[in-house]
Symmetry: C2
Subunit: 140 residues, 2 copies
């Protein structure tokens, strides 16, 4: 898959993805770094971040900002929703590619007390779509 993109297969990349998959869910770069160090003690922070960016770009990893001041990384690429605890900061997955309302219900069913639910829609705004549609410019 890396080869297909003309990129090199390095032990760092393999170990980082593997570590992230083993950690399972919402891990900070620091947690991933610690796990990686057990196998690859010399792996550096810049490499870690660069690799995570690459994996995100490749669609193998998702990056998620829960407002905790650190980015969280997730090897599960299926879209899903999240419940963030205001008290302890824990991020709970709401599994499944389900409608937002069902996600909310699911969280409540698991004992989570929602105070506020916010939908973040990620996509392309009108202006940027128009810009990329403009003739003479290479569409993305």
């Amino acid at each position: 898959m890396l080869h297909a993109r003309g990129l090199r297969v390095t032990s760092q990349r393999l170990v980082i993805l593997d570590a992230l998959r083993k950690l399972g869910r919402h891990s900070t770069a620091e947690e991933i770094g610690r796990a990686v160090h057990e196998e690859l003690p010399a792996c550096s922070a810049p490499t870690l971040y660069a690799t995570l960016d690459l994996l995100v770009e490749m669609g193998l990893v998702r990056r998620l900002d829960a407002g905790l001041g650190v980015a969280l990384y997730d090897a599960g690429t299926r879209p899903h929703h999240h419940a963030v605890c205001r008290v302890c900061g824990a991020v709970q997955d709401i599994e499944g590619e389900i409608a937002p309302e069902d996600a909310l219900r699911s969280a409540v069913g698991r004992g989570f007390e929602p105070e506020r639910a916010e939908l973040m829609v990620y996509g392309v705004c009108v202006a940027c779509r128009d810009a990329s549609d403009a003739p003479g410019l290479a569409g993305d």
Copy 2:
């Protein structure tokens, strides 16, 4: 309102809230700071952040993390949803205290091309609720 909480009414606090209200939408601390400086040139970053925290705590301001690396502040306290453009980073309000699904529809109706919608539910998880319910401990 500040008095009611035994807090002092300072020009900084008034000007910061006023600036944020005038800016209207999702402003970064830096934007707010710039606006504040026009009226209160000496207002410092620590004061700005402290005041914003205070306003958030008082419920007059909401803080929002759109994954852009900076916090956005919003003087509109009514909960609403957001659409973030992957290309230009613009954050669009989806007005109204409406159901997430309607929010998604609303964004599409305005020309936004959604790629991914994620519901963030903020609240209190089971463990933290149980902890605060525990007898002998002061409930929050």
